[in-house]
Point group: C2
Chain length 214, copies 2
């Protein structure tokens, strides 16, 4: 049946996404993926052609759902700071849900070589990055934010902080005293904590009176 076929392919992709992001492309074996998915090894090649084909399939499935979420907020008729708060809430909510895919993206983006894959990913990630930057620049223009802020490095802080927490689980877990892959902890404790922290950090940098001369 068509439906069953799609469901099974989807199930394989779910498992592959997790295993790839846990162990990396080279670290994950087709035997392990097929084993955990409960399908015969040959099915992977039957459906996806090759290990690389499977990897690409994982990417392309997720990538479509990624676009056009922050953009709506940017166009609302509220203050720059309110937009920023909304974007942070939205972004933190979203990345926590997809955190294993985020790891996958990050690993792939750390490769220096310029390929079709990195090109695609870059383009998609830039949408989010530029949306934050737009709000920063707009706030500077309207006088809500300080004039001499570094909006480019500030985006690096937002995305970098998130990546570090998600992407270095061993260190994060040690620092925070919990396994950050524990979903309950993630949802109930970490998520609101990250939101609160990021808002305060941004507010202090963007809006408070401070001596910025040096």
């Amino acid at each position: 049946m068509d439906k069953d076929k799609i469901d099974k392919k989807d199930h394989i992709l779910d498992v592959a996404e997790r295993v790839f992001s846990d162990l990396g492309f080279d670290g994950a074996s087709t035997r392990m993926i097929s084993g955990e998915a409960g399908v015969n090894m040959a099915m992977l090649n039957y459906y996806f052609g090759s290990k690389e084909g499977l990897f690409l399939a994982v990417f392309e499935r997720k990538i479509s759902s990624f676009q056009t979420l922050l953009q709506n907020i940017g166009n609302e008729g509220i203050s720059s700071w309110d937009k920023l708060e909304k974007c942070i809430d939205n972004y933190v909510d979203r990345i926590i849900v997809n955190n294993c895919f985020q790891k996958l993206i990050n690993r792939e983006m750390s490769i220096s070589k310029h390929t079709d894959l990195t090109d695609k990913i870059t383009k998609i990630l830039m949408i989010n990055v530029l949306e934050f930057k737009k709000i920063f620049d707009e706030g500077v223009k309207s006088g809500s934010f300080h004039k001499d802020i570094d909006t480019q490095l500030l985006t690096a802080t937002i995305f970098g902080t998130k990546n570090y927490i998600i992407n270095a689980p061993h260190i994060s877990s040690l620092m925070l005293g919990h396994d950050i892959r524990d979903e309950k902890f993630l949802e109930e404790k970490l998520k609101p904590r990250i939101k609160k922290y990021m808002k305060r950090l941004l507010k202090a940098y963007l809006m408070n009176d401070n001596d910025n001369t040096n």
Copy 2:
């Protein structure tokens, strides 16, 4: 000769570091490393015991010099803020020089599987993380920094911001308008800019009067 032996080991480590950071631990093969280093494959095991031993040797060679550096700063008799500034200067200087090594660390740490390797790396990295955190906590205790700051997430911001700039070269380059792997740009422009930005960000969050209730 003792000198020759050390030089040869060092040469192998140089090559291994580059290959590992290009391809990851799993992606790099011992044959490739020994081939590029111009030594027999058995030499790797002879000198370093195993592939993992080689990887650890690469790691420990670089990390040992850095770890003692932050600690010295932490013990100086200066204000918490001055320590922080010194640490940032030092840290930024160092990571820019070793950015290919940083990529290596990042890639390996994003692997979830808990092995002896990740365990060792985690332990070593935690030394730096905890050194920053110690200064934060000390500053809070002495009253120089705000009481209700999130020192744990703040370390994530420091290391995460750095990682993002170094480790996502495609995005960083697009944002900054230069190829961040251009050494001259890195040294003359980016380095001082990151230092200035990080200090201002930290100062605003840690020391400025602000409404932190929410």
